[in-house]
């Protein structure tokens, strides 16, 4: 069952960018794609637990700031060494300018 929590305002994130979001001791990364679609993943890289929110969003990918590992943030797929394990994604919805995250999906 979905458990939607308020994450941020839609305008808090620039197009083609990412921001951090913390909830109940867990870190998440929330993305706004170039075409204004919103996505969310775990906050840390699966390689060495670096925060992804400090990385570079380029189109549909996020690049980890520590070792340049890349993920497709729309699917969570790891795109090659040094990231070999996919990052977990979470459903996101935007209602009346507010971004909601389903952290229990």
């Amino acid at each position: 069952m979905a458990h939607w929590i308020t994450a941020c305002e839609a305008d808090d994130i620039d197009p083609e960018d990412v921001i951090p979001f913390a909830h109940e001791g867990r870190d998440y990364a929330i993305y706004r794609s170039p075409d204004d679609t919103y996505y969310a993943t775990d906050g840390h890289c699966t390689h060495e637990k670096t925060l992804l929110c400090d990385g570079l969003v380029d189109g549909g990918t996020i690049e980890c700031p520590k070792h340049n590992g890349r993920f497709d943030y729309t699917s969570g797929k790891a795109l090659g060494a040094p990231v070999l394990v996919d990052v977990r994604t979470y459903p996101v919805k935007v209602t009346d300018g507010t971004v909601y995250l389903d952290v229990e999906s």
Binding site: G55, D58, A81
Partner: protein
């Protein structure tokens, strides 16, 4: 002393576990505060600068190779082949480095293609060295963890000098290629290359060995050294600049620290050296923010200069410090060069005694 020194720096020796236990592995490193908006500008990629610079680089390599071939058999070939050799055997290191980070180009396959080419030229397996360099960035100059500490304490002087013409690196590279081609890694490599990646190592080693076998067969068939002078040979006769540049990165600086301002140098270089080295001279900046492509590092340097010690004004200035430091470390392994930060800079990140740069024996430091 030699065996003790190697054991201390070995990734399979006791220092590895001691570093993990002491919290040195995967530590929280200092980073200057750069506004997110500015950081995004600095991280942004473009194909143009690296396409331009790579075209010039490959063009020069082709030009000097052509002139070397044209004058082959005469001493007039020597300067052209030396220039070719330095571009091949030295500057491939910086191309390997930047494309390995995936920061040279915006287009991914361009980075990967250059990475494969430069790996072959510098005689590094692209997979093991990708993981080795990943560890180098995680645990920069952490003894027992970083596989890329070029200058140990005390330094292996004979090896360092011999490698100015590749006399250690090249035989080691062929030994490793042979080992990899037979489906084996070294113990150190097994510490940082995941099992799922190892098949790539074995395949690449076989390809590289096959290319060298064809080169040698051509040399024998043509009864000429020319094929070897053009392929593989430059890693010997053209390697000097690789080390002249490379030693400036970390030699003589702090070990077991968690602040790149304590273990890394930024050296100002002229435009020719910056082209040859692809701005790797901005090394503090690179380690602090590996996402920034080489063509934006000068801007990043200005952005964080207030937090750093002044950059070395020249290669000469850097070596005036490096050589005496290495000599002093032959007798005093706790000595290291400690720079003074600018007034108002964020203080050094030294959360514990073990992070002060001396690389004290970890058991002693833990007890303290």
């Amino acid at each position: 002393m030699g065996r003790e020194r190697l054991e201390r720096y070995s990734l399979t020796g006791p220092e590895n576990q001691a570093a993990v236990a002491a919290g040195l592995a995967g530590g929280a490193w200092f980073r200057s505060a750069v506004p997110r908006k500015r950081m995004k500008e600095l991280m942004r990629r473009s194909d143009y600068p690296a396409v331009r610079d790579t075209a010039i680089w490959i063009g020069l390599i082709g030009l000097f190779a052509g002139l070397g071939i044209a004058f082959w058999g005469s001493w007039r070939a020597a300067p052209f082949l030396l220039a070719y050799g330095i571009l091949y055997g030295s500057t491939s290191d910086s191309r390997w480095h930047e494309s390995g980070h995936g920061t040279a180009f915006k287009t991914r396959w361009l980075d990967e293609s250059l990475y494969q080419l430069a790996s072959f030229m510098i005689m590094r397996d692209p997979t093991t060295w990708r993981w080795s360099h990943t560890r180098h960035h995680t645990d920069t100059l952490v003894v027992g963890r970083d596989p890329e500490i070029a200058v140990m304490r005390p330094a292996r002087l004979a090896k360092l000098l011999a490698n100015l013409i590749g006399l250690v690196d090249v035989p080691v590279a062929f030994m490793l290629m042979s080992r990899h081609a037979s489906g084996r890694l070294t113990a150190d490599e097994a510490d940082y290359v995941p099992a799922s990646e190892r098949h790539k190592v074995y395949r690449t080693a076989r390809i590289h060995l096959a290319i060298y076998a064809v080169t040698i067969a051509l040399a024998v068939g043509l009864r000429s050294w020319l094929p070897v002078v053009l392929i593989g040979g430059p890693r010997l006769y053209g390697a000097c600049l690789f080390y002249v540049y490379g030693f400036t990165q970390h030699a003589g600086l702090g070990e077991n620290v968690l602040d790149h301002r304590l273990n890394t140098r930024t050296v100002k270089m002229n435009v020719v050296n910056r082209f040859l080295y692809w701005n790797m001279n901005y090394h503090v900046e690179h380690h602090m923010f590996p996402m920034v492509p080489y063509y934006r590092l000068a801007e990043l340097h200005e952005e964080i200069a207030h937090d750093c010690a002044p950059a070395y004004p020249s290669l000469w200035a850097a070596y005036r410090e490096i050589i005496p430091a290495i000599v002093r470390q032959l007798k005093d392994q706790e000595y290291y060069v400690r720079r003074e930060l600018r007034p108002g800079a964020a203080p050094f990140n030294e959360p514990a005694l073990i992070n002060d740069g001396r690389a004290l024996p970890l058991a002693t430091a833990n007890a303290a």
